[in-house]
Amino acid sequence: MSVDQSTVRRIARLARIKVSDEEVPALEGELNAILKWIEMLNDVDTGNIAPLTSVVETSMKKRNDAVTDGGYPDDVTLNAPASDDHFFVVPKVVE
């Protein structure tokens, strides 16, 4: 499988990365080189193999459903590029 320039633009949109028209041809070439190299996996018959879900055989950890952390909104918004009264500020999304 390979990607064309419109697919590159679609992936970039999905990934929320703005790409310029000049960047698209180079990305197309690089992504296709990687996808072509990955094609060797098709040589392996994986018909009866289950996909790996965890490298360590272990049961899911559980804990009591209790609040054990929190209560420091100053810290939570400390690194925000824009915040106001412990809220993150973003461009207007609802007209």
């Binding site: 929320r16 990365i17 703005k18 790409v19 392996v44 996909p51 965890s54 360590v56 272990t58 590029p81």
Partner: protein, 489 residues
């Protein structure tokens, strides 16, 4: 008196305990060495004031008889680990100005044991790279140079700053992380020792995520004993990381008993790749001969799916990265580049904030997870991963540990490898270990024809780091690797 920065952690610990010098004196010697080695670009931030405060506190605890395991030992911390109030940016532009109000579990463990922080170490952006050329803060330079050459070499990556700093003696030891080889490959390129522990041995809490099913933190150190001491402190069972495995941390230093009699050492046939440089092939045979002479048994084993590990990794790791890095949106932390609306702001921020290699991997990951391709790529890769793990599980019936080369070449020059796939091949011998969640250690074992360090890798069973340390320690003694780069910096 010897230069304090030339002491290993074990030697410095003994000197501090005996009162030969204070933690403050030791730290002062390192602060000077760090300043004198800025041309290596190993540190992105130096924290001398914090180091002096921590050393003073260490001296008080030593005087009070309450010294910890790493009391007064000056360390460098990879920029991927959260350090309270200090630059933690994964060497990416997108995390500009981020100072976490908390420590990663690993950093906290080290500080609780008395370690002193000298600063934050350079790395490939988000740990994506094999040469430390993708950092927003510029290339790290390897202290080593080829014989009769002044040309700069890369220290490997992604933990290039950690490896370069340990090699140059501008920290006593360093934290590092390994997703596909990012501890072992830079250790190999700089003649240092690096261990990637079993997945789940070290908490990932507070470590900036790259590929969560593969990432694991470990130390880079000057020798095997120091790496055992550091892992002792870094490893823990942590309720904050659900993949942290509930197995007690053994006494790793006690495992260094020099006895490998009867140990079954596997040599995987598939690691004999076409075009392996002769000096690396010779060193591999030499490593097996050393262990055999010590009473170990050398056993040929087969890991049939080895060659599929790297292409499968380049599906799994970018897929996980594309999900993990979705959090960098210009809202909660780091860089924000304004736009016409919120989507435009996201897209502008991520376009400006991520470097080329990171964007490439996010896009590959987004593609392989997108509708219609998920089964063909992601599920297929996870099935290959099952086969890789099964190969190892079967081999463990015959052997206790495996011996392989660590890297397919010694260090290369910046700009020498520009093709992404060629760069990815650096991890050909290390990546299987991450895919199967196993521990692996790189030990310097000799010099290449060009006079550069070469390393061997030992691969262990899950949670059997002790056998790795024991075997590596024996190999280190037999290799007698004492070569040092000429001090040109």
């Amino acid at each position: 008196m010897t230069n304090l920065t030339d002491l290993t952690i074990a030697e410095a610990r003994a000197g501090l305990a005996a009162g030969d010098f204070s933690a403050s004196e030791l730290t002062e010697a390192y602060i000077e060495a760090v300043e004198a080695a800025r041309v290596l670009n190993a540190y992105v931030v130096e924290t001398p004031d914090i180091a002096r405060q921590m050393a003073k506190a260490s001296d008080e605890r030593i005087a009070a008889g309450t010294a910890g395991l790493l009391e007064g030992i000056p360390l460098g911390i990879k920029d991927l680990f959260a350090t309270k109030g200090v630059h933690t940016q994964a060497c990416s532009h997108i995390l500009d100005g981020f100072k976490p109000p908390y420590n990663a579990t690993v950093t906290q463990n080290l500080f609780d044991d008395g370690a002193v922080m000298l600063g934050k170490l350079n790395m490939d952006e988000f740990a994506m790279g094999s040469s430390n050329e993708t950092s927003y803060y510029g290339n790290v330079i390897n202290p080593w140079r080829r014989s009769n050459s002044n040309a700069a070499l890369v220290p490997g990556g992604s933990s290039g700053g950690s490896a370069s700093a340990v090699c140059a003696h501008i920290c006593a030891g360093a934290t590092a992380t390994d997703t596909g080889g990012s501890i072992r490959q830079p250790a190999a390129f700089t003649g240092t020792v690096g261990i990637k522990p079993t997945y789940g041995r070290v908490s990932r809490w507070g470590v900036v995520a790259f590929a969560s099913s593969l990432d694991q933190a470990g130390p880079i150190a000057r020798d095997v004993r120091d790496s055992a001491i550091l892992l002792q402190s870094m490893a823990s069972v942590d309720a904050k990381d659900t993949t942290s495995v509930d197995v007690p941390v053994p006494d790793y230093e006690a495992a260094l008993n020099g006895d490998v009699r009867g140990l079954r050492v596997g040599i995987p046939a598939e690691y004999q790749v076409d075009g392996m440089p002769q000096d690396i092939a010779r060193l591999w045979q030499q490593g097996a001969a050393w262990l055999k002479a010590r009473g170990a048994e050398i056993v040929e084993v087969s890991l049939p799916h080895t060659k599929y590990a790297l292409p499968a990794y380049y599906i799994v790791a970018p897929a996980e990265a594309s999900s993990n890095l979705a959090r960098y949106d210009g809202v909660r932390y780091g860089l924000r580049v304004d736009g016409n609306d919120i989507i435009d702001m996201y897209e502008n921020t991520r376009a400006a904030g991520f470097g080329k290699e990171v964007k490439r991997r996010i896009m590959i990951g987004t593609y392989v997870l997108s509708a219609g391709y998920y089964d063909a790529y992601y599920v297929k890769a996870q099935k290959i991963r099952s086969l890789i793990k099964r190969d190892f599980d079967e081999a463990w019936n015959k052997v206790d540990v495996m011996l392989t080369p660590a890297t397919p070449s010694p260090a290369f020059a910046p700009g020498e490898i520009t093709d992404p796939v060629q760069m990815y091949l650096n991890d050909i011998f290390t990546v299987t270990v991450n895919m199967a969640g196993l521990p692996g250690i790189a030990v310097p074992a000799g010099l290449s024809e060009e006079g550069l360090p070469l390393a061997l890798q030992l691969i262990g069973k899950p949670f059997d780091e002790e056998t790795l340390f024991r075997t590596a320690h024996v190999m280190e003694q037999d290799a007698g690797f004492t070569a040092r780069p000429d001090r040109w910096w």
